[in-house]
């Protein structure tokens, strides 16, 4: 049986969250610890005030957040981010950004009141403070993740994933606050709040805004974009601006079709319409951007690996499959049926290391860089191991140049 070449870890994905040598790690830890004390105090107050409402609130928001978190992480088609870093982004949004935003919004709210007067402030403070204060403070969380694990945020989709998870954390805590403090905290109030803020509005809020901010940060930090930094900063500014604009529109009295409280009969149906008017355009915009980002990632993968065909690290058929995540999954499923779990797991590993090969290529300066040579050897070694498995060989053969059909 072929021996696998040093498969313990690829030279990529070393990034850990716990990095005591980095000042950014300590800044993150300090801020989350301090704000965590305040956040826990607030949750204790809510729990004392309405134990059942508080428990129901958390149950409902987690029920919603768990699949959304999985969906967000799956959007990164070619490279799964390390879970500790994803959790760190989520915690920053839930703990640090919410607590700091409450203080920041209050301070800038006074400025609005002094400049515009009480009447103007009543209508416009939420629109003129929160979009700036909250997007900056959530974005800071993504920047800290970049500073802690620079190698992990290397393109637009990575930024989107970290940003969206940060926004999800923020949204969860904000929703619990609204369920208890605005909708009354009893079972009926919490369910009303869940309908208004999650069912009717959940698609449009902080996940989108901070996803856009994360994309902006990803554009600046990417290693896959040859444009000058100035051009990338301009694109990032437009994305962050779109996030702030979407948040501003959501908080402002513009296009306000929300029926006045308390709601009765048909007014309940107006609520999703009212939220869609404000939120749907931004949602469609983000969906479009994510699709473009996926296409950009696919092109990057193709361009990075097409020259590796001659090196034998990847075959044309493997590359064709690699570019389409659904076909990757189908290929593994077919191989599992034909050659068993071990072969399918090895194919999964081969695919992952081939994606890593593309990343190594984008990070090294020369074709004979030791890291690149090593990664090529890792890929070939896994393929050799796959060939050694009965049933796996035929799969690999069909994937070699000159074979009839694509793998799987």
């Amino acid at each position: 049986m072929a021996r696998l070449l040093s498969l313990s870890r690829s030279p990529l994905h070393h990034a850990r969250f716990l990095q005591p040598r980095l000042p950014a790690f300590w800044l993150y830890t300090l801020v989350v610890t301090l704000t965590g004390v305040v956040a826990i105090g607030e949750q204790n107050l809510f729990r004392e005030m309405s134990p059942s409402g508080w428990a129901l609130s958390w149950g409902l928001v987690l029920l919603y957040a768990a699949p959304v978190a999985v969906l967000i992480s799956l959007l990164d088609l070619y490279e799964r981010e390390p879970i500790p870093l994803l959790a760190a982004a989520f915690v920053w949004g839930a703990v640090a950004a919410t607590t700091l935003s409450a203080i920041g919004n209050a301070g800038w709210g006074i400025v609005i009141a002094r400049l515009g007067g009480p009447e103007f402030a009543t209508r416009w403070t939420a629109a003129l403070t929160a979009p700036f204060v909250e997007e900056i403070l959530k974005g800071v969380g993504v920047v800290l993740i970049v500073l802690i694990a620079r190698d992990e945020v290397d393109d637009v989709m990575d930024g989107f994933v970290y940003g969206a998870l940060c926004g999800l954390g923020f949204m969860i805590v904000e929703n619990v606050f609204y369920f208890i403090a605005v909708f009354g905290g009893d079972v009926e109030g919490v369910l009303q709040g869940f309908f208004v803020r999650v069912i009717a509005s959940g698609l449009y809020s902080h996940v989108l805004y901070t996803g856009l901010v994360g994309m902006a940060i990803g554009i600046v930090t990417t290693r896959r974009d040859d444009r000058p930094l100035r051009d990338r900063v301009r694109s990032a500014g437009l994305l962050a601006g779109a996030a702030v604009l979407g948040h501003f529109l959501w908080n402002s009295p513009i296009l306000e079709f929300f029926p006045p409280h308390p709601w009765e009969g048909g007014e309940w149906f107006l609520i999703p319409v009212a939220t869609a008017v404000k939120g749907l355009p931004l949602l469609l915009f983000v969906v479009l951007l994510v699709r473009l980002a996926h296409e950009r990632e696919r092109r990057w993968l193709h361009e990075s690996l097409v020259s590796e065909i001659d090196e034998g690290s990847v075959t044309p058929q493997e590359l064709a499959i690699l570019e389409r995540p659904r076909r990757r999954f189908q290929a593994r499923r077919e191989l599992r049926r034909r050659a068993g779990d071990r072969a399918a797991n090895l194919l999964k590993r081969l695919q992952r290391e081939q994606v890593n090969l593309a990343m190594v290529r984008s990070r090294v300066a020369s074709e004979d860089d030791p890291a690149l040579i090593r990664q090529r050897a890792v890929c070939r070694s896994i393929r050799d191991a796959l060939e050694a498995i009965p049933g796996g060989a035929s799969a690999v053969e069909s994937g070699r140049p000159g074979a009839d059909g694509p793998l799987g």
């Binding site: 030279p11 990529l12 070393h14 040598r21 980095l22 000042p23 950014a24 800044l27 801020v31 607030e42 107050l45 809510f46 004392e48 005030m49 309405s50 700091l100 409450a102 203080i103 920041g104 209050a106 301070g107 800038w108 709210g109 006074i110 400025v111 009141a113 002094r114 400049l115 007067g117 009480p118 402030a121 403070t125 403070t129 700036f132 204060v133 900056i136 403070l137 800071v140 920047v143 800290l144 500073l147 606050f177 208890i180 403090a181 605005v182 909708f183 009354g184 905290g185 009893d186 109030g189 409280h261 190594v360 990070r363 090294v364 300066a365 860089d369 030791p370 890291a371 090593r374």
Partner: protein, 210 residues
Amino acid sequence: MIRPSPDVPVRPDATAGAFRPARRWLPTVLVTLVMSVTVLGGFVVAETLPAPEVQPVALANVLRLRPLPGWEVVRREQATVPLPRGGVITGEFAQLTRGSGALDLLALPGVGGDALELADLYATAVLTSQLERLAVSGLVERITLPTGMEAVRFGYIGSQPQTGAALEGSVTVVVAPSGNGAVFDGWAPQGQLELISEELVAMIARTEVV
């Protein structure tokens, strides 16, 4: 020339010359600066802006309060407080607000008794009728105001019946030697009282109760 620190090995895939230990601090300092300006900048900028002139508020010849900048009177009316034994006592009510929080003032001429009795009356006759799910703190704090008058203070949480919004408040009660009583009820949406508590304390501290 910047040389890598001996205890931090250079990554095998790092771009040549990319190692810059000194630069680790700069982005973190910049991030700290951005956070500080975003969180605290509003308070600093607000201090530089002219605050609207606020007239002192005098109620029923019992209390005279100087609102801090940003606070304004939004309600003012005669008030009656039902007594547990029957009957009512009359006084004057005013509400000051500053965005997210409010200070309710109640002046009750000749109410008599002591501050603790008036605090109990306010909690049972006023707060109970205004709020749902009211929870009053068991601990009543005895304090001395800077004017030298004895006062009691207690906290509460509850929710507004109309909107269901949760509130938290802090009530300070004074009965002057003349028998005139004053109630200061500072309240805000749950979690936001802390943001205005210093201003509430400052306004109450410099109020004259005669």
